[in-house]
Amino acid sequence: MIKKILVANRGEIAVRIMRTCREMGIHSVAVFSEADRRSMHVRYADEAYFIGPSPSNESYLVIEKIISAAKKAKADAIHPGYGFLSENAEFSDRCKKEGIIFIGPSAESIASMGDKITARRTIIKAGVPVVPGTTDPITNDKEAVKIIKSIGLPVMIKASAGGGGKGMRLVKNETEIVPSIRAAKSEAMAAFGNDAVYIEKYIESPHHIEFQILADKHGNVIHLFERECSVQRRHQKVIEETPSPLMTPEIRKEMGDHAVAVARAAKYDGAGTIEFIVDDRLNYFFLEMNTRLQVEHPITERVVGIDLVREQINIANGLKLTYEQEGLSQNGHAIECRIYAEDPDNNFMPSPGRIQHITEPLGFGVRHDGYVYEGFEIPIYYDPLISKLIVWGKTRPEAIARMKRALHSYKITGVKTSIKFLEKIMNAPDFVEGNYNTHFIEKNKSFLEDKETCQGDCKAMAIIAAFIDYHNRIAQTQQKVAQVKSGSEWKSKNRKKNLLRM
């Protein structure tokens, strides 16, 4: 059984994993770069090892350094979190060779699902619907034009090794086909070192719905229902919820069965996510599989009541799943908002900096997974995710009301955050009615950018607070100067006010 886990990650996810380690009586080991000495994951862990300079390609992404730290710490296992090395087949393989348990799938599963073209082939064989398109990389422009005509415009050109919207091009007109393929290839090469691209039918009103699966090493696979992830900005998820307002029990069952089939086809074990694209008429197509924990996994934990990190560790220990599909159900409704250090008033420009003050929302039905604290400087080198706010309600309207309440009392000063933008989304009629797809933010742009104005005297209060604060600071400084100059600070008999005597 695993007794010590090295968490090869940072930020909120590293802390989140260590919490479960502690609940299981497992020792946790942190690794940290120069920029992260003060990070919460270093403080929360039982042990911590320095792994190099701040840029992630000199620290968190260097397999050698992670392995070396794991050996020094005598860790039995490594949990990769998400991002960084979590979907790196070479790393999974290397752990195996070193006799360290990799808490995630085998190199073969990662490789087969990591390459989108290979994944498509596997999935088609398993009888799961995929978006019409090619399974081979495009090698020839003329052939590509022919294929695209047979699929029918619009189509997407996508990088085989891609993700995060890079190496992706939407083609609406015939004349755009060849330039788009070239642009996608060059972007894919720059981003992933691999210029393979393929073609997919473009779904006009797409919903992004994913299924959480768990598979043990004994051939048992279950799904933990769906997550609706259609609220996206620049192909990045902003808000997720479960159940999906779009879903029906029949389609849920069908998609769940297909998700399980995908995991079986990939000979997968561990926790994974099957992403589907769904149109308004509930036609669904396999999009890709994420062979790791997702950022948005807490909403599933909340409605299903299962700690996914605990399950990952149990599976890595070779234990059988203790849940059966029939015994699982969704209880209530959960929503997650991702809080980013970014400026919604300024084109979502990243906003690193020092946290001056933070008030975290608490109370019934609120979970807050973060890692920053007062005085912490958010590094410029990594993802701008500050925290995730997860709420639960018996019903979807109750969950929305609770999220509004939580966002309202969530205050961070020192860096700009997306909190107000998220509040606007909670108030947008399309969201409230559950009537949205991945075009939601674009469609509601003017509503979301409209600034709430203060009813009352906010502006006057702001002026008065600034004035009094400045006034008091000056008075204090003057007093201190006077004291020091007259030497009175050193003669004072008042012990209480004189905090430090030498």
């Binding site: 250090a341 400026d343 300024n346 420009m349 990243p350 906003s351 690193p352 900096g353 001056q356 003050h357 410029i380 080198y381 990594y382 993802d383 701008p384 205050k411 000063t413 020192g414 107000k420 600034k451 709430e452 104005t453 203060c454 009352g456 005297d457 906010c458 502006k459 006057a460 209060m461 702001a462 002026i463 008065i464 607070a465 600034a466 004035f467 009094i468 604060d469 400045y470 006034h471 008091n472």
Partner: protein, 168 residues
């Protein structure tokens, strides 16, 4: 004490008329407010005005005399204009015609510098690329200009609002 305060570009005159414990009598452009004000945490004020409860959070800005102030829904940029600030502002205005600095509003790392001292650039040309939190931002000139000086080099870690490139 009376002070001029600039809030989101608008200038107001503020004066403390009286104080009794936490109760402050303050006038803003002649309008008098009786406010119960206490600093509850560092930079956080609880204010009661006509029994409404306001929480106001102050973050000191780029200079010790500037604040970013957050109330319930609004965020304001506030500058205290005392004699020194006014003097500095006037002096700044004098120089503004000659030089302009390209800067990034956020801290980050210089990824690429596309110009060198003496280069002539055209409106819309990118002069520098800065990266922060996995996102790259390109900074461009708005009109035809000459590069007067390059103050940073590639790989440098920079502060928010630090002058990076001076243009004429």
């Amino acid at each position: 004490m009376a002070l001029e305060i600039n809030i989101d570009g608008q200038s107001v005159s503020v004066e403390l008329l009286g104080k009794n414990g936490d109760k402050h009598q303050v006038s803003i452009d002649g309008k008098v407010y009786l406010v119960d004000l206490v600093m509850v945490e560092k930079g956080v004020y609880s204010m009661l005005y006509k029994n409404k409860s306001y929480n106001v959070e102050l973050a000191v800005g780029k200079t010790p005399k500037s604040y970013t102030i957050s109330t319930l829904y609004n965020s304001y940029d506030v500058d205290i204009l005392d004699a020194e600030a006014k003097y500095l502002r006037n002096r700044k205005h004098d120089h503004l015609g000659d030089n302009m600095a390209i800067s990034s509003p956020m801290p980050g790392k210089v990824v690429k510098i596309l110009v060198k001292k003496g280069d002539k650039v055209k409106a819309g040309d990118t002069v520098i690329i800065v990266s922060a939190m996995k996102m790259e931002s390109e900074y461009k000139v708005k009109s035809d200009r000459t590069i007067k000086n390059v103050l940073v080099k590639e790989g440098d870690t920079i502060d928010g609002n630090q002058p990076l490139i001076m243009i004429e």
